[in-house]
Amino acid sequence: MEGRPLTDRELIERARAGELAAYEELVRRYEQQAFRAAYLVCRDADEASDAAQEGFVRAWQALPRFRAGAEPRPWLMRIVVNAARNRRRGSGRRAGLALRVAQDRPSDGAAPSPEVAILAGERRAELLAAIETLPDDDRLVLGLRWFVELGEAEMAEILSVPRGTVKSRLSRALERLRVAMKERAADD
């Protein structure tokens, strides 16, 4: 046994050779990101959980078609996101508000004053509410980029589009978000 953790590529090569434990470790590494990405699409925790599990099982079955030398994470995430999209379409419904701002989240540093905490909480809630008014595709690219913290190159692979398309979609989504926030501010 090596004295260091196996890399993703080493794990997926072992998984391709039929080693389920290696695949299990790979899933463990990315289950949180995958679940959150699925949650952004499904907007329901149970549906997201089912979609992520379905995606990871599909990926196991598709291991023969994994391109040797490629990065496993975006490949896995793409299959999970696609499974989530299929489920979302199949459900035929638009779920309610998906994301919430945590209240009274403990801070590692000095606690802000109550007034500052309330203002910050209101600002975040306002931003989330504006995001909720955006089209699904805009919410997804913003969510993958900032909330799941994926890079543009990975997003391109996950969404099966060129990187330039990711850039332009992000740019458009940000622009629409700015407009949505201004409209909300004007309404107040």
Partner: protein, 257 residues
């Protein structure tokens, strides 16, 4: 106040990054455990994978050799497949319908596989062997048709339940513009690890582009649903599946012969 767009976008990105730290996500389930359990329960956990491309090429070569040998000594490979089970063949398909729907010439799976340079065939007990196999030399397209099956009812007018067509061509961007313009609903769907299209509603039709660049209009065989996707250099479509899940189940079972 004057506002430069880039400054505004930068500020927004900072705000989004701040928001990301405060989102109250649902608890992440222990997917590694449930995924491993699901794989174990499917009985596929100990399968050793071959490199995809090499495996595919070897598989194709073996199929062609086997099919060629069978043809040379006059053995129907279909006889071996019948042992694996499956429902009995459906009723005969009238010749007039074969011509009307543009199926081409009647043939068998092995001949169609040789003509096409590899044929993807569903490996699904509920479906079994196709009742009818066709090859259209003009378009280089093969078609397989099934009659009534459990959960996959046939159209009472034609006796056709599921029809799968495949040819060596790409789908082409104009395909779906045409479908959308005709008012048909088109959605992306996942087939294995590739993206396909699920088409519902009305009498849809589409074009496809042959390897030499010629564009042909495809004849639709069944009114209703179509799942279309590409795999192994083939463009495939399943017509007549009651739901997307049924179509995907059939599609993902397909094995190259």
């Amino acid at each position: 106040m004057t506002e430069r767009p880039n400054d505004s976008v930068d500020a927004l990105q900072i705000t989004l990054a701040d928001l990301a730290t405060a989102i109250d996500w649902p608890d992440t389930p222990r997917l590694s455990l449930s995924v491993a359990a699901a794989i174990r329960s499917s009985g596929r956990e100990s399968r050793a994978w071959r490199p995809a491309r090499r495996g595919l090429l070897l598989g194709l070569a073996a199929t062609l050799l086997l099919a060629g040998a069978a043809a040379a000594i006059g053995i129907a490979l279909g006889g071996l497949r019948i042992i694996s089970g499956g429902p009995p063949p459906g009723s005969p398909l009238p010749d007039a319908l074969v011509v009307e729907r543009g199926f081409g010439e009647r043939t068998d799976l092995d001949t169609a596989a040789r003509s096409l340079g590899g044929l993807l065939v569903p490996d699904l007990p509920a479906l079994g062997e196709p009742d009818h196999v066709f090859f259209d030399a003009r378009t280089g397209a093969a078609a397989m048709a099934w009659g009534d099956r459990d959960g996959l009812p046939a159209d009472p007018g034609t006796g056709l339940g599921i029809v799968i067509s495949q040819f060596r061509a790409d789908i082409g961007p104009s395909t779906f513009e045409k479908l959308i313009n005709s008012g048909t609903r088109v959605e992306q769907a996942v087939v294995g690890v590739t993206t396909g299209y699920w088409i519902e509603g009305g009498e849809h039709f589409f074009y496809f582009r042959l390897a030499d660049g010629e564009v042909l209009e495809a004849t639709i065989r069944l009114v209703g649903t179509t799942l279309m996707w590409e795999r192994d250099g083939l463009t495939l479509r399943i017509e007549g599946a009651p739901t997307l899940a049924d179509a995907v189940r059939i599609a993902e079972s397909m094995q190259l012969r």
